[in-house]
């Protein structure tokens, strides 16, 4: 019996899916017409400003708003941390919110915030992880500064180490980094009676609506959230609306005027989340044949004040005998917020550096050593194939053994690493399609574009189903009036919304075929849409243009709805990255010269935007490897680099050549791609440095001082 083809499912021969379509919003962005929250301006709008604690731990003794209230242009003030409330007058990190003000200009708001007098009782703080672990830090957190998790154990460690021909014992470490969104967190709030409209830089407009409503005690139906364009979100904008969002709404209510409250760069570093640190003290054993026989790890990290800091370890490789004990270390710093593949970059780094050190013990090539220790190959576990393909393309056979022996100070090296990420997605994620008699097509969904190209994805899927070009589709997203949809996080947006868009478009086309079929004297089922025409499937000459077909719709547009369906999306991606570096062993400066990305994401919907995800992921991870570091003063506990001058990020000249090889797996349906490509670049770069200079650097970032230090230790 012939297999039934579900017309709602992804097409076997797509016309637009998987092609390189330019971003729909490109012209809007480059001409400045795109309106980010930062660009929103409302009549009578005021500007909000928050007063924050300069201390990592203190009690607010008094807040005097008198002088600020008398400042020019000040309309309202607010106390966030009430000194009289003994339950809630503590600040727990530098940057914790204390008070706020709204004034008629940004300058007046800044001046007034300076005039708010706050008296603090400074309390002992804990910001140094090593002191917290040693028990020598002040006791700050109820239940202790350290929280131990249940140790995990599999197999027989004694037996595993007994089977080892070689062992290593090393400590690996990654640093705390901040999200550093180009558009800072912020909101514009406008009330009309008990109804709130909020423009917010968010990864989840519907989540923001629920958070505003619940926090303010108003019905969700009274809240409209808009985010048409968003200037960077790596997880920190996927959670609450933040204290700044709630403060903005309250200032606007109190002032009876719209208020705009965008954080400045210092606030962004201090108070909007971070990636936790991750340290792993590992003992591992490897057999003479290159099989890892045992892994014994003690790990810890800090996610800030009372927050978790877990990460996967060992990462991906199969080790039958293993033990791991993890501790969350609580410090008086801002709490972590999920950052692009939470936990995975840390787990990848701490595992992959160990892998090359073990490979050297048994004198095996790192690619072959990895293949020996991988799980079996499967559609969600393609590392073996990708390692071999990538090695061939990258020129891995030209890689020298550990340590570049060529004369001179510039040493070159290559490194490799692998990663995985779940992603996936599901509903509800409804989409609504309209086809008008003038030929116009609108696809509407309550999702948001966090800079990843969601508008383009909406247009590509719709155009593919209707036989049109993406430019003929108007995607409408970024407004809670368009319906419910999940937040964008965990690489789930594409997998969640794509099926509903496809279903809505196909149903709309079916309705159009009903209108057109009588004119052509055929049954609707005999018609197809392709190349901007509706025509008989077996006789393309018998048909009409899209415009002529739509004239038969009449004044009432065709409308249809779709939602996520099982089988049209999937979960778990595999990826491999290769990196090449040049290291100046006299200055310690690392230059990444090449990165190769081999990555799958299920069905490739929009090839150009998918490749962009890979470029962005690599660049983000390069920053993690070479530059980013939240540095705290050892005594005061204050961040010493909360700016864009000393909190380093890559410039244009730091970006290497990046080659992307996307592996299409259409049979798996759509899987997200936002996070996977950012997981393993840092490890690949670090291993390339190791290959170049001949010694391991076991902590990030790879600063010149750290490179030179490792060289000195290696020589010693």
């Amino acid at each position: 019996m012939a297999e039934t083809i579900d017309p709602l499912n992804w097409p076997a021969t797509p016309s637009v899916l998987g092609t390189r379509v330019k971003r729909m919003d490109g012209p809007e962005k480059v001409t400045g017409r795109a309106k980010y929250t930062f660009d929103i301006s409302r009549p009578r709008m005021l500007y909000g400003r928050i007063v924050r604690s300069p201390y990592p731990h203190a009690r607010v003794v008094s807040v005097d708003l008198t002088a600020a209230s008398r400042m020019p242009g000040v309309k309202t003030t607010l106390v966030w941390r009430d000194p009289a409330n003994t339950q809630n007058n503590l600040v727990m990190f530098q940057g914790d919110e204390v008070a706020a003000v709204a004034a008629d200009t940004e300058e007046h708001a800044i001046d007034a915030a300076r005039a708010i007098k706050v008296e603090y009782q400074v309390l002992p703080h804990v910001t140094l992880v090593d002191r917290a672990l040693a028990g020598t830090a002040p006791a700050v957190f109820t239940g202790g500064n350290v929280r131990a998790a249940q140790p995990q154990s599999t197999g027989d460690l004694t037996k595993g180490f007994g089977a080892a021909a070689h062992t290593i014992e090393e400590t690996y470490e990654t640093q705390v980094i901040t999200h550093t969104c180009m558009e800072t967190h912020g909101t514009v709030c406008e009330w009309e009676g008990e109804r709130l409209t909020a423009w917010i830089s968010t990864q989840g407009i519907n989540g923001a609506r629920e958070n505003f409503a619940s926090a303010l005690g108003i019905p969700q139906a009274n809240v409209r959230v808009i985010c048409q364009y968003m200037g960077g979100g790596f997880g920190s904008k996927a959670l609450s609306v933040g204290a700044e969002g709630l403060i903005c709404a309250r200032l606007a209510k109190a002032a009876n005027a719209p208020v705009k409250l965008m954080l400045d760069r210092k606030e962004e570093h201090l108070a909007t989340g971070n990636r936790p640190s991750a340290t792993a003290r590992i003992k591992a054993g490897v057999s003479a044949e290159g099989i890892i026989t045992a892994f014994d790890g003690d790990t810890w990290g800090t996610g800030g004040a009372g927050a978790t800091a877990g990460f996967p370890l060992p990462y991906i490789y199969q080790i039958a005998n293993r033990r791991r004990a993890h501790k969350d270390v609580f410090t008086n710093t801002a709490q972590q917020r999920p950052m692009r593949a939470p936990g995975h970059p840390q787990g990848s780094f701490n595992t992959e550096i160990m892998m090359d050190e073990l490979a050297d013990k048994v004198k095996m090539d790192p690619v072959e050593f990895r293949i020996k220790n991988l799980p079996p190959e499967a559609p969600n576990a393609m590392w073996r194939s990708y390692l071999r393909e990538g090695a061939a393309e990258f020129g891995w056979d030209k890689r020298h053994p550990t340590g570049d022996k060529t004369p001179g100070p510039i040493k070159t090296g290559m490194g490799v690493s692998i990663h995985t990420w779940g992603g996936g997605g599901r509903g509800p994620a409804p989409a609504h399609c309209e086809i008008a008699s003038d030929g116009g097509v609108v696809m509407r969904a309550g999702t948001q574009d966090i800079g990843t190209g969601t508008r383009t994805l909406v247009a590509v899927i719709t155009a593919d189903a209707l036989g049109l070009q993406p430019t003929q589709v108007r995607p409408e997203i970024g407004d809670t009036l368009y319906g419910v949809s999940p937040a964008s996080g965990g690489s789930t947006t594409a997998a969640s919304i794509s099926p509903g868009i496809r279903v809505a478009a196909v149903k709309a086309l079916d309705a159009l075929k009903e209108k057109v079929a009588p004119s052509l004297g055929v049954e609707p089922a005999a018609l197809v849409a392709s190349g901007g025409r509706i025509h008989v499937k077996d006789d393309p000459s018998k048909g009409m243009s899209w415009a002529d077909a739509c004239k038969r719709i009449g004044p009432q547009s065709i409308t249809s709805d779709g939602d996520w369906r099982p089988g049209m999306s999937s979960t778990t991606t595999s990826g491999v990255q290769f990196a090449e570096v040049k290291v100046d062993i006299e200055t310690g400066i690392v230059k990444v010269t090449r990165v190769l990305v081999v990555q799958d994401c299920g069905l490739v919907v929009s090839r150009l935007t998918a490749e962009s995800q890979c470029y962005g992921g690599v660049i983000g991870s390069l920053n993690f490897a070479l530059f980013e570091d939240r540095i705290l003063d050892r005594n005061s506990g204050q961040m010493v680099n909360p700016n864009m001058e000393w909190y380093l990020l890559a410039g244009m000249s730091d970006i290497p050549r990046i080659d992307v090889r996307l592996k299409n797996q259409p049979e798996r349906g759509v899987i997200g791609l936002g996070e996977p490509p950012t997981v393993s670049t840092a490890a690949a770069i670090t291993l390339a440095v190791r290959n170049a200079i001949g010694v391991s650097v076991r902590s990030l970032p790879l600063t010149p001082a750290r490179i030179l230090g490792a060289l000195r230790q290696g020589i010693a």
């Binding site: 109820t142 929280r147 993890h326 779940g422 996936g424």
Partner: protein, 75 residues
């Protein structure tokens, strides 16, 4: 001792004001994930009343801290 796996928030057990990312994002768990790495916990939590990771009483919020003992808990 706590489980390394991310605790879920249950109505009737945990405070109704406790929030975490997975309540807003519909990821699908791959059963094979357990073969790639052991469970770990790095979930971020927040209180919907304060919109921060601290409750109205100024203390951090997490499932193990928000199940009835605090005066601010709501069920």
């Amino acid at each position: 001792m706590l489980s390394l796996t991310s605790p879920k928030i249950h109505v009737g057990v945990h405070c109704l004001k406790l929030r975490t990312k997975s309540m807003y994002i519909h990821a699908v768990v791959d059963p094979d994930e357990a073969t790639f790495y052991d469970a770990y916990d790095n979930s971020a939590f927040w209180c919907v009343s304060t919109q921060t990771g601290f409750g109205p009483d100024g203390q951090p919020v997490r499932p193990d801290l928000c199940h009835g003992e605090r005066g601010c808990c709501r069920f």
